[in-house]
Symmetry: C2
Subunit: 142 residues, 2 copies
């Protein structure tokens, strides 16, 4: 079960977040998806339908369309999978009020994904937002 969930999560990250395949969400996610903790995320503390989650992914990916999450570490128990990750992508649209610069942005973070019967039901996440803010500030000054 734990290893199946790990494989599901790796496929979810690759298809949905890295490749932007929104329809793939149907096969990975439960009927509702809760963002338990994700400071700075506009959907923090909300429970979304599958369609709501598709909208969240679409809007989140829009300004950085070539973004990729590279998983660093992976740990799991029966109903949780924990990952640490490095994220990068090209800044091609407005991010936190900063217009597109065409430069690469880097960020690191850690997430617990929650599972029920093999489907993802939500997450708890921390991202190093300050480093992205510093990159955006530096880029906008140049």
């Amino acid at each position: 079960m734990s290893e199946d969930n790990q494989k599901t999560l790796e496929s979810f990250i690759k298809a949905v977040w890295n490749q932007g395949d929104l329809d793939a969400i149907d096969s990975f996610v439960a009927d509702s998806y809760t963002i338990h903790h994700d400071p700075g995320d506009p959907w923090d503390h909300r429970t979304l339908t599958v369609e709501g989650l598709k909208e969240r992914v679409r809007i989140s990916r829009e300004p950085v369309p070539d973004q990729t999450f590279e998983i660093q570490s992976l740990l799991s128990d029966e109903n949780r999978v924990f990952i640490t990750w490095l994220w990068k992508g090209t800044h091609l649209g407005e991010v936190s009020g900063f217009e597109a610069t065409g430069k690469e942005l880097l960020m690191s973070g850690a997430t617990i994904y929650y599972f029920e019967q093999g489907k993802i039901t939500g997450h708890w996440q921390i991202a190093d937002r300050l480093s992205v803010y510093q990159q955006l500030m530096a880029n906008s000054i140049v």
Copy 2:
């Protein structure tokens, strides 16, 4: 082994980080302690001796001496313990260039602690530094 490491980590956080008992480090930590990833930490990417780690904890705790880490989630395998946490404390000394305000600061984060033979050998950490920066900015304007 995994459960022993969890207990060790809970005792380490409580004694060392929450209560500031630097000498307790001797019993929890291996001969060297590596900060694999901890953006914004002055010791990021360094390997410290036990004495060096004591100095890091002492300096880090100084401006927020009543700080506490409250563990939210805990997961482990043989040589790793992963926690998510909420941190809080009173801002009584200079933090990132901001003078003491006497106000409470809040932060969340996630850490993997690495173990060898029951001793902690280092960590990989992400903290939501941007929210602390925003609190410091808000406090300094008031």
